[in-house]
């Protein structure tokens, strides 16, 4: 069930209404049942796998809390292996075999290892990481094991963030499922505004840009450098609107019922460096990697070369987390290299900027930094979006060669849509620059007319300019 569907709208209204109508003691069950239904709307049978890992992690949590010494560590390892094992089988097995078969083929062997003919369970990487954060936090003693099986299952399966995050931590969410929630008009109102802003970003901007991006990236050789460049920039905006739109809807849907999920995006394209970008983009994942992988490897409290390696490795794994494909690995490696390079040249940059008369906090310098960061991030997106490494290299090569031509808008994208898309991008940046977060945070009795205008403009915009083709969210595939 996609958020951008009428089914979800109906589902959301029914689930929220029943939630507030039920006594507190039955609400966890209602939300769990609704979440199961939500998940089973994709591929029903995969709920068995999800429940399998939930049972393992539930008992692992309790036993880890009780255990001491090596036994405690082994229980954590069992939990990690069982979670990662599912991920490996469903997400990476065929990728490994693909490369193994290619390698044996090159070596002259006729042996072909058989592939698994399976679909990737939707949102597998997200709920796996969320489950892992629970057992790790219990192991570290930062959180007590959850004794209520239903509440723990709800922690993993809570439908707003089940398939694409935010990847929550037990400290932030679990206690909320125990708390008695009363209907709060302001929570409801703020959640509603988050949701319509998310829908606007997804349906009006992301799905419109997707039409051009898909056409160009699926047939790169048929397009000139101008179109390749426009499609690449559009993809940078598309993926942001798609994923941050999803996150807004998820956080808003939870907020309507009084639950607070963590912020996942904070205007990432306003970042002045790659380091800052990752503090603003997919925050729940980048902090996950920071807390559970980077710090476990020693973080920056190691020798300098090892620190660089740690950074690079974490981003390489992050790329692999996104998908079993060399394109994602290259994307992750690029970001790893960016970060290392950023540290290496930081002093030179400061000195150079000073010599060129750009004070640290000048608007011009900030603008140039934002532009450079956006360019680097967008360059890496080429590998993220391209269907293959060769496609990505073709796109890079042709953009660099700069064989520009006119807008090949006739076949895919009309002049109208092109102009509208650029206008929407400008509107997006202006709106998110200062205003949207402030308007969303306004309570019901604050600036009523502004709140009204926000609702009317967005809903009218969605209805008039939306692309209603039920395009899935990009991050659902991960």
């Amino acid at each position: 069930m996609l958020f951008n569907s009428l089914e979800f709208l109906l589902f959301f209204i029914v689930v929220t209404t029943i939630f507030f109508a039920l006594p507190h003691k039955y609400r966890w069950f209602h939300l769990l049942a609704a979440s199961c239904y939500f998940y089973m709307a994709f591929v029903p049978i995969y709920i068995v796998i999800l429940f399998g890992t939930i049972i393992i992690d539930y008992f692992a949590g309790i036993w880890i809390e009780r255990a001491t010494g090596t036994r405690r560590k082994w229980l954590l390892i069992i939990s990690i292996i069982s979670n990662i094992g599912v991920l490996v089988v469903f997400k990476y097995y065929n990728f490994f075999l693909d490369n193994l078969n290619a390698a044996t083929g090159h070596a002259g062997s006729d042996t072909v290892f058989p592939y698994l003919n399976i679909l990737l369970p939707i949102g597998l990487s997200f709920h796996t990481f969320q489950a892992l954060s629970y057992t790790i936090e219990v192991y570290r003693g930062n959180h007590k094991a959850e004794k209520h099986f239903g509440i723990y299952a709800l922690y993993v399966m809570f439908y707003p963030q089940l398939v694409a995050g935010p990847i929550e931590r037990p400290q932030n969410v679990l206690h909320q499922f125990h708390e008695k929630k009363f209907f709060d008009a302001n929570d409801f109102f703020i959640g509603f505004k988050m949701m319509i802003w998310g829908f606007f970003k997804k349906i009006v901007i992301a799905d419109r840009l997707a039409i051009l991006v898909n056409q160009v990236y699926n047939h790169p050789t048929e397009h000139n450098a101008t179109m390749l460049l426009i499609a690449t920039v559009f993809f940078a905006i598309q993926i942001y609107c798609d994923f941050s739109g999803y996150s807004s809807i998820a956080i808003g849907a939870a907020r309507v019922m009084g639950f607070r999920l963590m912020t996942n995006f904070n205007n990432p394209y306003q970042a002045r460096s790659i380091n800052e970008f990752w503090k603003r983009w997919h925050i729940s994942l980048s902090t996950w990697f920071r807390d559970y992988l980077y710090i476990s490897m020693g973080g920056n409290r190691v020798s300098v070369p090892r620190w660089y390696f740690n950074l690079f490795f974490v981003f390489l794994v992050s790329g692999f987390w996104h998908g079993a494909n060399w394109t994602f690995l290259i994307w992750g490696a690029l970001h790893g290299l960016y970060l290392v390079a950023e540290i290496l040249v930081s002093k030179t940059r400061e000195t150079g900027a000073g010599k060129n008369g750009l004070p640290k906090y000048s608007g011009v310098r900030r603008f140039l930094q934002v532009c450079l960061t956006f360019t680097l991030v967008t360059f890496a997106w080429i590998f993220f979006r391209a269907n293959s490494v060769s496609d990505a290299l073709y796109i890079v090569k042709n953009i660099v060669k700069g064989q520009w031509g006119g807008l090949q808008s006739g076949q895919v994208f009309s002049e109208f849509s092109m102009v509208l898309s650029f206008l929407l991008i400008v509107v997006l940046f202006l709106a998110e620059w200062k205003w949207v977060d402030r308007i969303i945070a306004l309570k019901l009795d604050e600036k009523y007319r502004l709140n009204l205008a926000f609702g009317i403009v967005l809903i009218t915009g969605i209805l008039v300019l939306g692309v209603f083709r039920k395009l899935s969210f990009i991050y659902f595939q991960f």
């Binding site: 895919v412 994208f413 109208f416 849509s417 009317i456 209805l463 008039v464």
Partner: protein
């Protein structure tokens, strides 16, 4: 209470704005005189009392000169040819035309090799008001997943990527802008436009097969025409000969045989003009599958004579 008031105001205001936009856009569309909307408007408003409906893709729009058709057959014809239209859109066009053209008694349908590739149809059924208004059933049956459509949200207005520059907003904001047209839906092309494409290698040619769903739509069209007592003529317009033989050899035989059988069963005249003599001469072509004005003139004369003989056979 304040929350309820908020939602009432927001949703009512949004609905009112959407309605107003829809009205404004559709009003503009009705005045549009260009490309698709222009053809629809002309067909519904000014070309009433058409007797011969000419339906098909661009290979109708630029290939069949309605002036010649009218003069030879003595019928009033209208060319409903629409760029890249597949059988689903052809059926929509036909149904729409019948709504206005009560005197229509002859259907001339052009068959294309790729006509039954429903997925390639660039149109949804939910576009500009006529189909939506009169044939809402098509909305429910819409199977188009075309990536080339930009429907305007929930409005009954859609912008086609291929055609948008001629379409809604353009016509609405700049009603005086016109594309040079021909006569009753016929769009003449001057000379050979693209020699490269004349020898175009279309590698996917052999993959064009008859889609059974598409064929059922063709059957619907034939049955409806028959129920209206219309005479039906199916033709296959010329392709530049070398192109046809090189690229469609397998598909060609299968499609022709199937259409011929269908036509025989339904008492329809089927004329395969795909390899006419005029198709050997590149000076008759605009590109590899469209005739220019000279070629269209020659071709329309052949069709018109055939229709005349079919309707009034020599004793």
């Amino acid at each position: 209470m304040r929350l309820v008031t908020y939602f009432i105001i927001v949703f009512v205001s949004s609905a009112a704005l959407v309605w107003a936009f829809s009205r404004a856009a559709n009003k503009g569309l009705r005045k549009s005189q260009i490309e698709f909307y222009g053809k629809i408007n002309a067909a519904s408003d000014t070309a009433k009392n058409t007797e011969l409906l000419v339906i098909g893709s661009s290979r109708v729009m630029v290939n069949i000169d309605t002036r010649i058709l009218d003069s030879v057959t003595g019928l009033r014809s209208y060319n409903y040819g629409l760029n890249a239209a597949k059988i689903k859109t052809c059926l929509n066009l036909f149904n729409y035309a019948l709504h206005f053209q009560r005197q229509a008694n002859v259907l001339l349908l052009n068959i294309d090799f790729n006509m039954f590739e429903i997925g390639d149809d660039p149109y949804t059924d939910a576009y500009y008001y006529p189909f939506e208004k009169y044939y809402p059933g098509f909305l429910l049956n819409d199977s188009s997943n075309s990536s080339t459509i930009h429907k305007f949200g929930f409005l009954d207005v859609a912008l086609y990527d291929d055609y948008v520059k001629y379409a809604a907003i353009d016509g609405w904001l700049r009603p005086n802008r016109k594309v040079a047209g021909g006569f009753n839906g016929y769009y003449p092309h001057a000379n050979l436009n693209d020699r490269v494409n004349l020898n175009h290698q279309f590698t996917g040619g052999d993959q064009y097969q008859i889609n059974e769903y598409g064929f059922s739509l063709l059957s619907d069209m034939a049955n409806r025409a028959k129920a209206k007592g219309m005479k039906q003529v199916f033709v296959m317009a010329p392709y530049y000969n070398d192109y046809t033989t090189r690229n469609y050899s397998k598909t060609y035989q299968g499609l022709i045989a199937r259409i011929a059988q269908f036509a025989a069963e339904k008492d329809i005249l089927f004329l395969d003009f795909s390899a006419l003599k005029l198709a050997d001469d590149e000076t008759n072509f605009y590109n590899y599958n469209h005739l220019n004005q000279k070629g269209a003139g020659l071709y329309t004369h052949i069709i018109a004579d055939a229709i005349k003989n079919y309707l009034h056979p020599a004793k």
